[in-house]
């Protein structure tokens, strides 16, 4: 699904990521751990296209997303004819080299990439339902949209009337993270990155977050979860764990590595 090779990011003259390499397969639940300032959030933002980077970041869009991208933003997507004929059916090129294209975040989003923000900003005057309607597929009719919305609000533990609240305005930390989960469920991306999704959450909200991620996740989808929360890690049961330190992936393993790191620290 995602191949990252020699990813380097400099911000304000400082090298944050240094030739980082990482592979994510379909169906992976990958937990990334690392000390403060190691570059975890920068990695998340590079995948979403929010920071400039060098190196290679290749992403394989699934058929559904590739064809949606082809429909909605033709100009940003490569097209090939599936037959040799000039008027043969069109097919989107599925492997997208996100570096060469320096695709803006909206294109990546339409290709099925999602980032759960550590601190989502407030957008006054825009209700959650209007916002979700604007970002989800126009092909879903209004009745179905509201049905989905109300089902997913219940799933993330937000009251029904939150649909009319302004986006992140006056939300507590926990409510903001629940709203990110609501967007995950409504957008149904193929690759989702969760940046410190657990920070400042109580036990119940951590459980809701884990439940939402598991509800969304299938064998065709991949999750990258940046966290140090043992409850969340245990609930999600990742098949891969990577340690990010000094701008590089220094160690990879399975759940055991996460548990050992939680117990002994990064230099244990």
């Amino acid at each position: 699904m995602l191949n990252i090779k020699d990813l380097t990011v400099r911000l304000a003259g400082k090298e944050i990521l240094n030739r980082l390499c990482l592979t994510v397969e379909d169906g992976d639940i990958l937990v990334i751990m690392g000390p403060n300032g190691a570059g975890k959030s920068t990695l998340a933002r590079a995948i979403m296209g929010l920071v400039k980077y060098q190196g290679e970041l290749r992403y394989l869009a699934g058929d559904a997303h590739a064809s949606q991208a082809l429909r909605t933003c033709r100009s940003c997507y490569e097209v090939q004819r599936s037959s040799a004929r000039e008027d043969g059916p069109e097919q989107a090129v599925r492997w997208v080299d996100l570096l060469r294209r320096q695709d803006p975040p909206e294109v990546r989003s339409r290709l099925g990439i999602f980032l759960s923000f550590q601190e989502p900003p407030a957008i006054p005057g825009i209700t959650i339902s209007d916002f979700l309607r604007a970002i989800t597929s126009e092909e879903v009719d209004l009745a179905e949209f509201y049905q989905n919305l109300s089902k997913n609000l219940a799933l993330v533990g937000l009251p029904e009337d939150y649909a009319d609240r302004e986006l992140n305005v006056g939300f507590s930390g926990g409510e903001k993270k629940k709203l990110e989960m609501l967007q995950l469920l409504m957008l149904n991306p193929q690759l989702a990155v969760f940046d410190e999704i657990d920070s400042g959450l109580d036990v119940d909200t951590v459980r809701t977050v884990a439940k939402s991620i598991k509800k969304w996740h299938t064998s065709e989808k991949s999750a990258i979860i940046i966290t140090h929360n043992s409850r969340l890690i245990k609930r999600l049961n990742p098949n891969k764990v990577a340690i990010l330190q000094n701008g590089k992936i220094v160690k990879t393993g399975n759940l055991g590595l996460a548990l050992a790191t939680l117990a002994e620290g990064f230099n244990g």
């Binding site: 803006p104 990546r108 989003s109 989502p120 900003p121 604007a134």
Partner: protein, 468 residues
């Protein structure tokens, strides 16, 4: 000039005398010494009276084709069908269309061309009733906005033409709005319509005023005047959506007097014009009277929109609220000016003033990965415009009384994090900007009549897109 207009209109003698007195007065009043630069306005070049060359009609079909098409394109006849109780349309200096629903007319509501009402020539009324109306006009005309107040009030008094007269009798509630639509079509023209609204005790009215004009190179002048008398326990809402072209000097004066227990609500959207100076004023004259002002202005390149409100509390237990929003793009300027004057006990007033500066996209998002296709255009386009400017000048006067008065002001920008967040959800940068700006304007947009809210959103989006 004043005599010429008056003769053309066959006005009563008192009106001609009034015009001549105003013309005399003009010689003694200087131009405003504060606010936006008016030096681009050459009063010698303004055409004070422009005849649309048609007599007034009661159906749209009867209007000359080119005039009818303009209103059609603006969607006025369609809106009249669906959501308005009455419509008046002024083209340059004269009212060319007027109609009021029969059901509303039967309740005794009068909505007429101002000149017709002043002459006492309303076709549906008897001679005696017409005499009463003509007298009512004479008694109320320019009693709230006095011609000696400022230069443009005196000018208005001398050359006014067209406008609306509305009377709502005691206890009558006009459920659907009345609308006046003002259109400038001639280059260098001036429009000086007079709107006089009298709403009797316990009655209710929503009056909507819409304005637009095509763009010419010469300066246009709009110096209209609105006077509203709100009776005891009456409720009046006056909504304005103004989209003058960018060569317009919009120097309008609006004032209302509110009797005991009455309420006046100003809702105002200022999107067009080169320079606007507009500060609707409510005089709260009776105990327990109240007023609110809700305004939004959008200033782009070369626009200086100086707006606000005045609330004069003359009676005890009166209250007022002012809420202002302004959106300023590069090269634009907005100023919010307010005066809250309290001369009686036990009064309350609060104002809230928010500005959103919409800056050059390139500066905002240097770190974002951009598709190479759009980047070069952005760089070229954004080199010359000045940064957007927004000022707030509130003023409070307490005349030896204590009162509960508050004022809050904020200036904000579209933050990079907001843009990135929305882009991460699949919106393009311009769609993200539009969404943020629409959200900012939302509290005003929802107070406008639906078709105007849609129009406002369209204008806001159009304006924002134009800047990218």
């Amino acid at each position: 000039m004043a005599t010429e207009i008056s003769q053309k209109k066959h006005e009563p003698k008192w009106m001609l005398e009034y015009r001549l007195a105003c013309a005399e007065l003009l010689k003694t009043i200087p131009q405003p010494a504060w606010g936006p630069d008016l030096s681009g306005l050459n009063l010698d070049k303004i055409q004070y009276y422009v005849d649309p060359k048609t007599v007034r009609k009661a159906t749209w079909q009867e209007l000359p084709g080119d005039v009818a098409k303009i209103y059609d394109d603006l969607g006025i006849p369609e809106a009249e069908q669906s959501s308005l109780a009455g419509v008046g349309a002024q083209f340059d200096s004269e009212v060319v269309y007027h109609n009021l629903r029969e059901t509303v007319r039967k309740k005794g509501v009068i909505y007429e061309d101002f000149d017709v009402a002043a002459r006492g020539e309303i076709p549906e009324l008897s001679e005696a009733e017409n005499a009463k109306i003509a007298n009512m006009v004479r008694e109320h005309y320019m009693q709230l906005v006095k011609p000696d107040e400022h230069f443009y009030a005196a000018l208005h008094g001398a050359v006014h033409s067209g406008g609306s007269f509305v009377y709502v009798p005691k206890g009558v509630e006009v459920e659907i709005p009345l609308q006046a639509y003002f259109r400038f079509n001639a280059p260098s023209a001036g429009q000086f319509e007079h709107t006089l609204i009298i709403v009797d005790e316990g009655a209710k009215l929503h009056f909507i005023e819409g304005c637009s004009a095509p763009k010419y190179n010469e300066a246009n002048l709009h110096a209209g005047c609105v006077e509203i008398y709100v009776g005891k326990k009456a409720l009046v809402r006056y909504s304005t959506v103004e989209n003058w072209s960018k060569n317009m000097y919009n120097l309008n004066t609006k004032r209302a007097k509110v009797e005991a227990g009455g309420r006046l609500e100003w809702v105002s959207g200022s999107f067009g014009s080169h320079v606007t100076m507009l500060y609707p004023c409510s005089v709260l004259a009776g105990k327990g009277a109240s007023s609110s002002y809700l305004g939004i202005s959008l200033a782009g390149e070369g626009q200086d929109l100086d707006t606000g409100a005045k609330m004069i509390h003359l009676a005890p237990q009166t209250s007022s609220t002012i809420e202002s929003k302004s959106i300023v793009k590069p090269g634009g300027k907005t100023t919010f000016r307010s005066l809250v004057k309290i001369c009686a006990e036990d009064c309350k007033s609060s104002s809230n003033c928010d500005s959103l500066l919409v800056e050059n996209p390139v500066e905002n998002s240097q770190n974002v990965a951009k598709s190479h296709k759009t980047a070069p255009e952005n760089v070229v386009k954004n080199t010359t415009l000045k940064a957007p400017v927004s000022d707030t000048i509130p003023s409070v006067e307490l005349k030896g009384v204590t009162a509960d008065v508050s004022h809050e002001a904020r200036v904000g920008r579209i933050s990079e994090e907001q843009l990135l967040y929305l882009q991460s959800r699949g919106l393009s940068e311009s769609a993200a900007r539009n969404l943020i700006v629409s959200g900012f304007a939302e509290s005003v947009a929802r107070e406008l009549p639906l078709e105007y809210a849609v129009e406002m959103n369209r204008l806001v989006n159009l304006e924002i897109k134009g800047g990218l």
